[in-house]
Structures are given as structure tokens and as C-alpha cells.
């Protein structure tokens, strides 16, 4: 389509004062456009004018709600002389470059320095604030168990691991719940679930789990998780929405895998320092792993009990190893291997004597026998 530049373009002017359109004509003159209205004409300089991408709308840099809608697109030589709205100007390019640099710098700072910042904050949180949070969480887990002998045994175990002069006060609570688990909570709160003690075959196995949780406490891992979750993650999600939330979760899982591995290393060091056996902890993880994979059909007696693993089982094993990549804890099998390789020939002594072990195993049974109000405070 050829447009005769001499012929004016028809359009509707909205002046931004009322919604009434005014019939206008536009004609190029030296240095700009002439707007021809019924009563008066106006001169509009090129540099004040903005043109829409489709060339059908004309707006003005200094009149916010003023616009002209044309009946046919503006000729190319008009458009070439004004700013096209929505086009990428060099100013935009500079702004985008600055924004991208900013995001990249922030991202790199968080990627490399994020853990350092989190650690620094986590280690500076006052115990007076964190301990109540931890205690509140412990209380929410269920009934805590206490008997004089059982509590003494638990404290003996703690003393054994922490040495004669513990660097910090850590309290151990035993909770009556049917789960095989243990936790390190903020403010030096360690929790052992009774079922874990029941499943353990020796006090050394419990000592291994406890040593792992003590390492978590020393590293302030749960404090770090709180700071991360309530500070950084929320900020990222506010800005980046669900996508940033997902990316953050992946980072969180990878960093908590690191923390778990570090806590296992710390546990081995603690057990060694306390002259405790390391092998039982490996046995404990082995048994846990066997229970995690129970689905093997009970082989008929008399048949070869040990068959080569079927392809299906191998596939399941591979999937479980893959699943481990996204899980926060290493699977029991690889943890068991870690503890096994740490076993040395140094002389060791049992974590508790037989009487203490019996008292620890019975710590919750006493409370269950006489139903009553759940005790609020565990052994300190």
C-alpha cells in the first residue's frame, strides 16, 4: 500500500478530558505533525509523539491520557521519526542489563555465600529465644517419658558422649510414639522416640543415633533451617513465585543432604572420642534398611532361599538410589557403609551397663501402665 504523504490521515482524537472522540486529520509538516481539527490546528513535534506497534495509535509524551486512533496505519517514514511504544530502546537495554547483572550478582552471592550467612546467623541466635521454640516443638510431639532410673540412664548416655565438661547444655527428651526416629530441634533439644530404643539391640546403637543428633545440635542445623525457611525462602517466593519456591526446595534438599553427611561424620568422631563401638550403629542402619524393603514375597520353604535378585528388584534398587538424590537423608545402606568403614580396632566399652540399658528401655512403659496426665517436662 502506498500512502501519499501529502494526503492527510483521518483519525479520532480522545483528548483525555472526556470520552467523546473528535474527528481529526494528521499531516506531516517540517519537524512534526499537524493536527487538523474542526476549529483549530495544532503542531506536534516528532520527539513528543509515540506510535503504537501496529501504527494505528498515536500518543503524546507529555499528555498522559491523550491519544489519536487512525483509520489506517501511519506511513513508515512517520514511524521512523518517533518512538514506537513498547519497542526496546537503548535506555531499556541499559536498564535490563543492570537488572540482569543485579539478579546474577545476588544469585551468585546467595549460591556461594548463602550457607556462610545462614551459619553466621544460626550460631548467633540467642539460646534464650531458641530454647523455648525447641521446647514447644518437643511438647507438640507427644507424651514425654521419665522414670528416675531411666532418666539417669539417658543422662549417663549423654554424659558419655559429651564428655565430662560439655560445651553446651543439651537436653534429651524421650517421646512415647511408635516411630523409629530421633530429632535435633532448636535451642539444644534432642528427641528420641521410644520405638527407636525398643528396636535398638544394644545401648551402643542408641548412642550412635544420639551422637548424630548431637552433631546436628553443634552445627546448629535446625536453627539454620529456621532462618532459611523464614527468611530467605519467603523472600525468594515473594519475588519469584512458585518457580523460585521450587528451585529453593531443591537447594534446601541438597544442603540438608550435606548437613546429614556432616552429622554422620561428626557422630563417628564423637563415638571415637568416647571410646564407643561404631559397628553397632552400622548394624542398626542395616536392620532399618531391611525393614524399609520388606516387599519380597516370602519364598516357599525348601526352595533356594537366596536367589539372584530379579530384574524387578534391581530396578527397584536403582529407583531407591535415585530417590535418595532428592531425599534429605542418605539411605540407610550408604550410611551403614560409612559407619562400617570407620570401625577401628581401638578398645571400646559399652555405652551403658545392663541395668542402665534395661531402665532406658522401660522408660515409657512405666508411664503407659498408669494412664494419667502427660508430663510436660522431660529429663533436662
Amino acid at each position: 500500500m502506498t500512502i501519499n504523504p501529502e494526503r492527510p490521515l483521518q483519525g479520532r482524537l480522545f483528548d483525555g478530558k472526556t470520552a467523546r472522540p473528535h474527528q481529526v486529520m494528521l499531516r506531516a509538516v517540517g519537524g512534526g505533525l499537524q493536527l487538523i481539527q474542526a476549529q483549530s490546528d495544532q503542531f506536534l513535534a516528532w520527539h513528543e509523539l509515540r506510535c503504537s506497534k501496529d501504527g494505528l495509535t498515536l500518543s503524546h509524551a507529555n499528555r498522559p491520557d491523550w491519544l489519536v486512533r487512525l483509520e489506517q496505519p501511519m506511513p513508515a517514514d512517520w514511524r521512523a521519526r518517533m518512538v514506537v511504544a513498547g519497542s526496546f530502546t537503548s535506555d531499556d537495554r541499559r536498564r535490563v542489563a543492570m537488572a540482569v547483572t543485579g539478579v546474577a550478582v545476588l544469585g551468585l552471592a546467595l549460591w556461594f555465600g548463602g550457607n556462610m550467612i545462614l551459619n553466621a546467623v544460626a550460631h548467633r541466635l540467642p539460646r534464650s529465644v531458641m530454647a523455648p521454640i525447641g521446647i514447644g516443638l518437643v511438647q507438640g510431639l507427644g507424651t514425654s517419658c521419665a522414670t528416675p532410673a531411666g532418666t539417669a540412664a539417658a543422662q549417663a548416655l549423654m554424659a558419655r558422649l559429651q564428655g565430662p565438661q560439655p560445651a553446651e547444655r543439651i537436653s534429651l527428651t524421650i517421646i512415647d510414639q511408635p516411630v523409629v526416629n530421633a530429632m535435633a530441634l532448636p535451642g539444644g533439644q534432642v528427641v528420641l522416640f521410644d520405638k527407636l530404643i525398643a528396636e535398638a539391640q544394644s545401648p551402643d546403637e542408641v548412642a550412635g543415633v544420639l551422637a548424630h543428633e548431637l552433631s546436628h545440635i553443634r552445627a546448629r542445623d535446625s536453627e539454620r533451617a529456621i532462618v532459611r525457611q523464614l527468611g530467605l525462602s519467603l523472600l525468594l517466593q515473594s519475588l519469584g513465585g512458585n518457580l523460585a519456591g521450587g528451585a529453593d526446595t531443591l537447594l534446601l534438599l541438597s544442603s540438608s543432604r550435606e548437613a546429614e553427611a556432616a552429622a554422620d561424620d561428626g557422630a563417628i568422631a564423637l563415638l571415637r572420642g568416647a571410646n564407643l563401638a561404631i559397628a553397632p550403629t552400622a548394624d542398626f542402619f542395616d536392620r532399618q534398611q531391611r525393614q524399609q524393603r520388606p516387599a519380597r514375597a516370602p519364598a516357599k520353604k525348601g526352595q533356594a532361599a537366596k536367589k539372584a535378585p530379579t530384574q524387578l528388584e534391581e530396578a527397584a534398587d536403582r529407583v531407591s538410589r535415585l530417590a535418595d538424590f532428592t531425599a534429605s537423608h542418605p539411605d540407610s545402606g550408604s550410611r551403614s557403609r560409612l559407619f562400617k568403614t570407620a570401625v577401628t580396632s581401638a578398645s571400646v566399652t559399652p555405652a551403658l551397663d545392663a541395668a542402665q540399658w534395661q531402665a532406658l528401655r522401660g522408660i515409657c512403659a512405666a508411664g503407659r501402665a498408669r494412664p494419667g496426665k502427660p508430663k510436660a517436662d522431660g529429663p533436662a
Binding site: R20, V103, L137, L239, G240, A244
Partner: protein
């Protein structure tokens, strides 16, 4: 020169965007959002709105969206500092208080969080509407909201309380009150929207629908209690966890109830939209909403099919489909005097809907 809207008769907005132009935009936005770790979403939303607005013609003239992505970004940053950070601090205080044995203080802090959130959700809905209207222009005239978000929020809290007290039976009244309150604050230039939706015609249909839904709910609750009573403890003592078959049954019951609820409430939902929009007028124009229960059902089933059969990619089209459904079912009768429609003097807010975004109550 006259616009079509000045002539008396039926006026319908016209939506001229094809699905492919939207899909291209949405794919581009998705990719840019991914490579910017989500930050681009503010600009993505702005581009989507600009597209939808400009493809919607009213009385022969298109709508214009004049918002900017940076305004949404600033809104989100502000929301983080005025909403999320204080909430985090109060919940920390509550956790500390609980651990120190001050149960009353802990409970008080928790309850105050819920109360503030309840109020804030309504506040955010009003403010998001103000932002969008202030960035909406037609024939060179800006829209706006007059009035107070705080007053609206109090009304929202009151209506919530009323719904609780009446077991949900006040829904038609509460929804109409809030819709009228919101839209009575809306302005197009100097013209005021009149919102006078009457809840009474909805009451009969609602009583029947919600009554049936409640009876079914009670039946579901009793059945679930029978299934779960041996596995639930109120004293914190250990209980065996329910077997998978029971968990599945409870899940099936819940999903079943929701489906039944959707079918029962469909007719009410369609009627409510017709009544609410039917009460709306602007100058000499009276608005109508023409979607029937069947239209809504086809729309929702279409959405579900679109998402399922494209393995989720179709969800990129949902925003477009929503807008098209709304535009295609709005009509107005009468005429508007465009000389009386002058530019608003109400100042536009500087940043946008961060609260609504953070509280996830933003619609488009």
C-alpha cells in the same frame, strides 16, 4: 462524532484475540519466567493483561492496560516487608511463648495472626481491584476506586463472621453485600458504578442447594468418624496409624463430597453471577451476565479436558479462556452519555497488588 455506546440498545463487548496469539505470548512468558527464576512473572502478567485488554472492544473502542511490571515488583517487595516479615516475627513470638509455658500468649498471637489475615485478604482484594481499574483506560478515560479499603475489609470480616454463625446460610446476602460494596466504590472517569444486587431472589435456590450439601457433609463426617475413631487421639497418646484401605476410603469420601458439592452448587453459582452483575449500572447502561449453569459446566469441563489431554500445556490457555468467557457473557442495555464521562480526579496508586499476590487472591 459519536461512539456506538451513545445509542440506546443492547451493547456487548467484543473479544478479538485468537488462541494462537495468546499461546505464543504465554509460551514466551513461561520461558522468560523460567530463565529469570520467576522474577519475570510481574512483566509476564503485565503483558498478558495488555494483550487481553487491547483485544476487548467496548462500544467500538478498545480497552487499554497501562500498568507496568515494575509496579507489580515494587508491590511484591512492599508486601514482603509489611505482611510476610511481621507475620514471621509474630509466629516466632508465639513459638517462644509456647515453649516458655505462656500458652495464653501463644494462643493469642496465633489468633491475632488469623484475625489480621482475615482482614488483610479483604483489604487486598479491594486494593488489587483499585490497581487494575486505575490501569484500565477506555477512550482516554481512566477508571478508579473511591472509598476506603479498610472500611471494605471490616465489612468483609463482618460478613465472614455472619457466614460462620449461620453455618454458611448467609452466603447470598454476604456475597451480594460485598459485591455491591466493592463496585459502588468503582468509577469510570467521573461516572460512578451503581451496584444494587438483591440477594433475596437467590435465597430459595441457595437454601435448597446448601441444605442438601450440608446433609451429605454430615453423612460423610459420620462415616469418616466411624472409620477413623480407632486411629485418632485427642490426648497426645500413641495410636496405631490407619491402614491404607481406610485412608483411601476417607480420601474417596472427601473427593466424592466435593464433586457432589460442585454439581449441587452449579445452578446457584450461575444464578449468583447473573444477580450480582444484573444489579450493576453505569450512567444509562444496565449490565447483565448471560452465562447459564450449562455454560459454566461446559466452560469448566472444557478447561479440565484442555489441561488433561495436553498433559498440562493447555493450562497456559486458561487465563485467555477465563477472560473470553467473561467478556462473551457480559451485556449492557441502554446508552451512555460520553460527554458526561470526564477524566477522573482520583489519584492512581503508585504500585500494584503485592498483598493480593502474596495472599494468593489475585484473579487475572
Amino acid at each position: 462524532m459519536e461512539l456506538q455506546i451513545t445509542e440506546p440498545g443492547e451493547h456487548r463487548p467484543d473479544f478479538s484475540s485468537g488462541w494462537s496469539s495468546w499461546f505464543g505470548l504465554a509460551i514466551g512468558n513461561l520461558l522468560l519466567t523460567i530463565v529469570t527464576l520467576g522474577i519475570y512473572r510481574f512483566w509476564a502478567r503485565t503483558r498478558e493483561r495488555r494483550h487481553l485488554w487491547s483485544a476487548t472492544h467496548w462500544g467500538g473502542e478498545p480497552l487499554e492496560y497501562t500498568g507496568k511490571g515494575s509496579e507489580l515488583l515494587i508491590g511484591a517487595i512492599l508486601a514482603f516487608f509489611v505482611l510476610i516479615l511481621p507475620l514471621v516475627i509474630v509466629s516466632m513470638v508465639s513459638a517462644v511463648a509456647k515453649g516458655m509455658g505462656m500458652a495464653a500468649l501463644a494462643l493469642g498471637a496465633q489468633l491475632s495472626i488469623y484475625a489480621v489475615l482475615l482482614w488483610l485478604v479483604q483489604f487486598a482484594i479491594w486494593r488489587a481491584m483499585r490497581y487494575r481499574l486505575s490501569r484500565t483506560r477506555w477512550s482516554g478515560i481512566r477508571s478508579a476506586m473511591a472509598g476506603s479499603a479498610a472500611l471494605y475489609a471490616w465489612q468483609g470480616v463482618k460478613m465472614f463472621g455472619l457466614q460462620i454463625i449461620t453455618l454458611g446460610f448467609a452466603t447470598p446476602y454476604a456475597n451480594a453485600r460485598l459485591f455491591n460494596a466493592r463496585w459502588s466504590d468503582a468509577r469510570m472517569g467521573t461516572l460512578k458504578f451503581e451496584a444494587a444486587a438483591d440477594w433475596r431472589p437467590l435465597q430459595r435456590l441457595y437454601l435448597i442447594s446448601w441444605g442438601i450439601a450440608l446433609i451429605v457433609l454430615i453423612g460423610v463426617a459420620v462415616t469418616e468418624w466411624r472409620l477413623l475413631r480407632d486411629h485418632v487421639s485427642f490426648t497426645g497418646s500413641a495410636m496405631p496409624s490407619p491402614p491404607p484401605s481406610v485412608v483411601l476410603q476417607v480420601l474417596a469420601l472427601n473427593v466424592g463430597w466435593l464433586l457432589v458439592l460442585a454439581v449441587i452448587m452449579l445452578r446457584y453459582y450461575a444464578a449468583q453471577w447473573q444477580v450480582l452483575v444484573g444489579g450493576l449500572s453505569l450512567d444509562g447502561l444496565r449490565f447483565r451476565f448471560t452465562a447459564t449453569a450449562g455454560d459454566w459446566l461446559r466452560y469448566w469441563l472444557g478447561n479440565a479436558a484442555l489441561v488433561v489431554f495436553t498433559l498440562g500445556i493447555g493450562s497456559l490457555m486458561l487465563g485467555w479462556r477465563h477472560w473470553r468467557f467473561m467478556v462473551n457473557h457480559i451485556a449492557a442495555d441502554g446508552a451512555m452519555d460520553v460527554d458526561r464521562l470526564a477524566q477522573t480526579r482520583i489519584e492512581a496508586p503508585l504500585f500494584g497488588e503485592g498483598l493480593a499476590d502474596a495472599l494468593d487472591v489475585g484473579a487475572i
